[in-house]
């Protein structure tokens, strides 16, 4: 113990124990955190501008294209309403219904997204461990993470809302101050649902600690139940035929429920519509109502945060210590049986990934919610009675449904499959030291993604086709297209995931939101569009020609035309198979090549 009590030179003993730290005022704390955010933002911007110009350009261009596309769509939609509805009062009611419904949906999504984001950042982020052991008021820590959650959950709201509101302003010839007030309106609006989400998150963590899985499942079930009830209520027993004036009036009446005057979406809709009409004082009044309520909400949730955050953090740890026994052995046994033809190593990798998926409710609840919503829509599809109006619609709608299933799957492969290699890379010492070829790891991911997606997607497409009553040939084409889509999407996600991994990031959502994830989503979307167009367009014309022939309207259709359509249909199917094979093989080849050389 030679060093004991041997004070070394260089550390003045006089100030060895410093004076008690001066407590920061709330205003100074606020300044310190703003300075922190500015520094983080500045460093990130500098890095992007110097080292990631290509990525930045691609993100800006893609976002810009998306924005312009949405703006054009909304512009066209509002112009259609403006020209189609002659009666000014009905037009006003329609626009109000569109606004209220749109913002009500955004409000519900914002409540859930802010609650989920805040849960992750308040209770799972390493930053809060650092902040909770710093001399900062707990209210400040909560506010810091709350404001971060608002930004993360509301940028999508601004991205979706701004083209619609600008398009409406153009069509309605709104005055200049309408455009000036758009952003303040949107920002004031997003604060309210985020507040509700934050309070819900804190109370659940405080009073139902460790039951977040139960809460997630309950929320998923509530969303599905709510949407099912709403769909049933909207679509049951319409007195009038689809898209007639009477049907339209009936729908407007039924949508009145989202125009409750106590709801923030009504304040926002009314404020924007009044401002667009030139009634700026009424518009400002609604803006002030939104801001005042937003500030009140902020005060309430800061108070709740101050009271419950530390106890909630502590309570969550209480539950974490409990041992959880593995369940659902039947699931793994089934997987084992299904993969009986594969090598032992491959089967083990598949079971490992399936276990990780099963134990991460964030993954399967999202899967459940979105696939459940689609299933509900498909089950109710007969109520739209497309076949009564135009036979061609059945085919068109069936292919649109197929595209929606594919697009939904592409968001899942981007969110969950693409980051798998990056996350595996962080723990590569486990797999890397096993007597296992690197290729086996990638094949395992590919089989997991393709195998896991084919069954739910094919099931959904089958449900849609059965409800629409499509021809057996088209049903077969859809099933084939669905398999091609799933295999291709899995190949793209695994291949690009291995080619563009991000080993620094721990969070799969952040990996998916990065350059590689964005590229994966874009490539997947283009792939889906190409495959669906290759099979949908020829099938559509073939069916139209067939229906016309059956109704003897086009009995004199020339034989070469029919042959040409058959050729077109066959080559479309073959083309989609070839494209599917290329889209699967090329990214996988690129991924394998990169993965063999990668250094961890």
């Amino acid at each position: 113990m030679s060093t004991k009590a041997s004070a070394q030179p260089g550390w003045p003993l006089a100030d060895a124990v410093g004076p008690a730290a001066e407590r920061l005022s709330p205003r100074d704390e606020d300044r310190a955190f703003w300075r922190l955010r500015l520094r983080l933002a500045r460093n990130m911007a500098r890095e992007m501008l110097t080292r990631m110009r290509f990525r930045l350009t691609l993100i800006v261009v893609l976002t810009g294209l998306l924005w312009v596309g949405m703006f054009w769509m909304f512009l066209d939609g509002f112009a259609f309403l403006e020209h189609g509805i002659r009666h000014p009062e009905t037009l006003d009611q329609t626009i109000r219904a569109v606004f209220s419904m749109f913002f009500a949906s955004l409000m519900v999504m914002l409540v859930f997204s802010s609650a989920i984001i805040l849960y992750g950042s308040l209770f799972r982020s390493p930053e809060v461990t650092f902040l909770l052991t710093s001399p900062v008021r707990v209210e400040r820590i909560f506010l810091h993470k709350f404001q971060e959650a608002i930004v993360l959950s509301s940028w999508g709201c601004v991205l979706l809302g701004s083209p619609m509101l600008l398009a409406y302003g153009v069509v309605a010839e709104a005055p200049w101050y309408y455009y000036v007030l758009l952003l303040p309106f949107l920002l004031a609006f997003v604060y309210l649902p985020a507040t509700l989400g934050a309070v819900a998150c804190l109370l659940i963590a405080r009073w139902l600690p460790g039951r977040q899985n139960v809460v997630l499942v309950a929320v998923a079930a509530a969303i599905l139940g709510g949407v099912a009830a709403m769909g049933w209520w909207l679509w049951t027993g319409p007195e009038n035929d689809l898209l007639t004036a009477g049907w339209f009036q009936e729908m407007l009446g039924r949508l009145r429920y989202c125009e409750q005057r106590l709801l923030p979406n009504w304040w926002l809709s009314s404020g924007l519509l009044e401002t667009a009409r030139g009634a700026w004082s009424e518009g400002l009044l609604f803006l002030v109502v939104l801001i005042a309520n937003g500030l009140l909400g902020r005060q309430v949730c800061t108070w709740v945060g101050g009271q419950t955050y530390r106890p909630a953090y502590n309570a969550l740890f209480n539950r974490r210590g409990g041992r959880k026994r593995s369940r659902a052995g039947w699931f793994e046994a089934l997987l084992g049986r299904l993969s009986a033809g594969l090598s032992g190593q491959m089967r083990l990798l598949l079971v490992k990934d399936a276990r990780l998926f099963r134990r991460d409710p964030v993954q399967w609840t999202q899967f459940l919610i979105f696939f459940g919503l689609l299933a509900l829509y498909f089950l109710n599809i007969r109520r739209f009675s497309y076949d009564r109006h135009y036979t061609g619609w059945v085919n068109m709608v069936s292919f649109l449904n197929l595209s929606v299933v594919g697009l939904l799957m592409s968001t899942f492969t981007t969110r969950f499959i693409f980051p798998m290699i990056s996350l595996e890379g962080q723990r590569f010492w486990i797999l890397g030291l096993l007597p296992l070829k690197r290729e086996t790891i990638l094949w395992g991911k590919f089989l997991f993604a393709a195998g896991g997606s084919i069954a739910p997607c094919a099931g959904l497409v089958l449900l849609s086709d059965v409800m629409l009553g499509v021809a057996p040939l088209i049903l077969l084409v859809h099933q084939l297209t669905c398999v091609v889509l799933c295999v291709g999407l899995a190949g793209i996600a695994v291949g690009l995931g291995a080619r563009l991994p991000n080993f620094r990031e721990q969070s799969p959502s952040r990996i998916a939101a990065g350059f590689g994830g964005t590229l994966n989503l874009v490539v997947s979307t283009l792939y889906i569009l190409a495959i669906v167009l290759l099979t949908a367009v020829p099938s559509h014309f073939y069916l139209v020609a067939q229906a016309a022939g059956e109704s003897r309207m086009l009995d004199d259709m020339a034989l070469p035309d029919r042959r040409w359509l058959e050729f077109y249909l066959t080559s479309g199917v073959i083309g989609s198979l070839v494209l599917g094979a290329i889209a699967t093989a090329v990214p996988l080849w690129i991924g394998f090549r990169a993965f063999r050389r990668i250094e961890f």
């Binding site: 730290a21 310190a32 909770l132």
Partner: protein, 256 residues
């Protein structure tokens, strides 16, 4: 000063810390030792305010950790076993943020950062983004941030993990210096040699209970093993809590 008074903390049905009563006085360097899962990290988390005891009290410089957590934390410098840094801040910016939160003015901040930079040899990377640091560099920076405000209490979880031998020596010297100057130092470690070399007092905890509290000579006297090292004493004391090791599996015959 650190005071644990009859502190118990459970996770579900498992008791992680059981009736812990312990006082560490100013100027004392205390090392908490114990096998994995003995309750060391839970003890430290209660000490820095991340967890609350189910019963009993934890006080730091007279402030109760449950009733006045912020007051208590103001006196603490904490080095966790897994250091957190903002990836997109440079080391200097991180230290400036910590100093600002500690209420230091600009002049004091600059002087303290310069001193810690010299102590922990941070100069060569202090202005780089933290995302480029190795584990050891991160650990040195976190040490610097904990020492920045000359705290009355230093709490260190596994201080030597990831540090190179030169920094290990430096940290050991600094901890002794701080204790000699009146700082209360509380560390948890598996590195028994470090505890033996620099600790004034040690506590050995197994299955949540404090089995021994005193100096190394007192432990030697208790176990009647006057020449034994701390490692031997630790193993003897904790033997009853350990299962006998499983026999090594017979190696598979090599395939011909």
């Amino acid at each position: 000063m650190i005071e644990f008074h009859e502190v118990t903390r459970k996770y579900s049905r498992k008791t992680a810390v059981d009736q812990l009563t312990l006082t560490v006085h100013p100027g004392q360097l205390f090392a908490l030792l114990g096998p994995n899962g003995a309750g060391k990290t839970t003890t430290i988390k209660m000490l820095v305010g991340l967890l609350r005891p189910d019963s009993g009290t934890v006080r730091v410089c007279g402030h109760d950790m449950v009733d006045q957590p912020q007051r208590a934390i103001e006196s603490i410098g904490y080095v966790p076993d897994q250091p957190f840094l903002y990836d997109k801040l440079s080391g200097r910016e991180f230290l400036e943020f910590v100093a600002e939160m500690r209420g230091m003015d600009r002049a004091a901040t600059a002087a303290n950062i310069a001193r810690q930079s010299e102590n922990f040899r941070l100069d060569e990377f202090l202005d780089d983004l933290a995302e480029t640091y190795s584990h050891g560099m991160k650990q040195r920076l976190v040490f610097a941030s904990a020492f920045l405000h000359s705290p009355a209490v230093l709490v260190i979880d596994e201080p030597m993990v990831g540090l190179d031998p030169r920094t290990v020596r430096l940290v050991k010297d600094l901890l002794r210096e701080r204790a000699a100057a009146g700082t209360t130092v509380f560390m948890s470690t598996h590195t028994l040699v470090v505890a033996e070399e620099i600790a004034d007092r040690i506590g050995i905890v197994t299955q949540g209970r404090l089995h021994f509290l005193g100096t190394v000579p007192e432990l030697q006297a208790k176990l009647s093993a006057h020449e034994a090292s701390l490692e031997a004493l630790f193993l003897e004391l904790t033997e009853g809590d350990r299962r006998k090791p499983e026999p090594m599996p017979t190696p598979l015959p090599e395939s011909s």
